[in-house]
Symmetry: C2
Subunit: 334 residues, 2 copies
């Protein structure tokens, strides 16, 4: 791997970051075409059904260039999906070399490298792969771990309470925080809450018009829900004792396994404290988004009642800090 | 108040901000001298015992200027302390006008305006007074409320616990957070903790070499301390049932009243949860500094067990957010 490879792959990563959530369920990919140490074209994944990054870059390329190097953050796909395979569009006259950050782990799309090598193009892998992975955390988690990317969302007082003792929790956070939460919902495939949250808050769990609505997933242990609750207007996936067992940590695995089969790439869990705690204790989560409102509840319900202690490293890295009025949102990645 | 007054007073405020903690117990003051719509000199409070802001600016002023306007963030002092009164140095040939942001509320130093007016200098007040007050929150709180400026400091898990159930709290936060805490100690007149914290943690409560050590103040209800604890190496002020009563909120007032008499301008309270809670419930605090470490304790001691609830506005405004590794520190002002 030479210095130039790193330089151009970082450009391709910047290109990938231009892709928005509209590419979903495809990953965000960036491509750079280099001829004699100059960038001669760029591209990134277009809206789902549109061009992939390589195709986008190739379409913009002046036909006069021969023997270029293509830098792409994800292995070119080899399958006919919404578009033709990228591998058929990459020819061995225009391209002499292809440098790839990460292999495509979607089994349907992989094997592109092999096909390109057969055409006589020199293919290298692994340049800036860690940086390129970060752009598609949900995609990689889904295909590698065979479960949705799990985001835990908590709205808390400064002392870790998510509600009064009697369940009252409207509203801990302010309107701007809640709007940012609605946007986040629109940005996830599915949203989940536990039984108690539905019984006490009767939420709609929609994006409140901020974007598309996520698929609703609910837990109904003891079949306590009447099916007249708001969530039932949206044909939710319901997990009850028909599928789940006694052990909450096993249940987490069952739920995630089922949702993987439903092609849910990202799951946003909004509570309550028990559901959040089970996911934390099972270690099956990827991101924690916590809103701290400038409030205190002396006698309330804690956001966490699991078995972790002071010496447990739960491996949370601060990814982002946002301020909504006097609410603070901290996003942790693992 | 004209537009220029605001412009120049904002410059004086910037000047005041150049003063460091070494001016203590004096307030941080800035001064600007203007001649024919040009700034011709600037000054700010020097180390305690050194020049006040006006004197600093006047010493730098070219003697050729006559009929200037002096902008100063705090009323020039009229008393002989470590230095001569500022009012004697301000003459009515060099200065035609003086514009002041805030009156000096230190009874020993006030009345400067009157003396200056008598000299025939036109004195105006109240320009940008709110902005100028913010630089000297401790000073104004001390003289106006006749109690120390109270800073509550909490080191918490994400779910609001400050220790395990058995009291274990070493270490929730990381080394960089703890160092920032030691610096904060060096920047306060006094530090206070409750009995339980001393019994369980036996802290030294020093600045650990980061600056001067604060005066140690401890609560010893029930006279449970043996006087062999580390804090007794530093001649602490001890509050016990000899002075305090049954009602913790009254005790807060008694403590603050006594510390005011001891000229403690700022009090840094490091816990534990009970002491913090009493100060919150008494409403006698000015700043809350909370460190969130990326940890969770399922069964632990909460940072707050008072009587506030979800609908109580405790009037906390985010002033600053800092990141120490994966610890987050939020500073709230009231």
């Amino acid at each position: 791997m030479c210095e130039n490879d790193i330089k151009y792959m970082q450009e391709a990563i910047l290109e990938a970051k231009k892709a928005g959530p509209e590419v979903y369920p495809n990953p965000k990919v960036g491509a750079i075409i280099v001829y004699k140490d100059s960038i001669v074209s760029r591209g990134h994944t277009q809206r789902y059904g549109g061009d992939h990054a390589e195709v986008d870059a190739i379409k913009r390329l002046d036909k006069k260039y021969k023997g270029c190097t293509l830098y792409v953050t994800l292995e070119p796909c080899s399958h006919i999906g919404k578009t033709d395979p990228c591998t058929t569009i990459i020819d061995n006259i225009t391209f002499k070399n292809i440098v790839i950050a990460n292999k495509d782990i979607n089994p349907k799309a992989s094997n592109g490298s092999k096909l390109l090598s057969k055409k006589g193009i020199k293919v290298s892998h692994g340049v800036c792969s860690e940086d390129a992975r970060k752009i598609n955390r949900r995609f990689f988690t889904f295909f590698e771990k065979k479960r949705p990317y799990v985001i835990l969302k908590i709205a808390s007082t400064l002392n870790g309470n998510i509600a009064e003792e009697d369940g009252l929790s409207k509203w801990i956070t302010n309107k701007d925080s809640r709007n940012s939460n609605y946007k986040m919902r629109s940005n996830c495939d599915a949203i989940m809450v536990g039984t108690k949250t539905i019984l006490e808050d009767n939420p709609t769990l929609t994006s409140h018009g901020f974007g598309r609505d996520p698929k609703i997933v609910i837990i109904d242990m003891g079949k306590k829900l009447s099916k007249k609750e708001n969530v039932f207007n949206h044909n939710p996936i319901v997990f009850s004792e028909d599928i789940l067992g006694e052990n909450p940590l096993n249940n987490v695995e069952i739920i995630l396994n089922m949702l993987y089969k439903e092609s849910i790439q990202s799951l946003y869990i909004e509570g309550g404290g028990e559901t959040i705690s089970h996911f934390i204790d099972s270690n099956l989560f990827d991101e924690l988004q916590i809103y701290y409102a400038p409030k205190l509840i002396g006698k309330g319900r804690t956001l966490y009642k699991g078995f972790k202690g002071i010496n447990d490293n739960i491996n949370l890295k601060v990814n982002r800090i946002e301020k909504f009025g006097d609410d603070i949102k901290i996003t942790y990645h693992r």
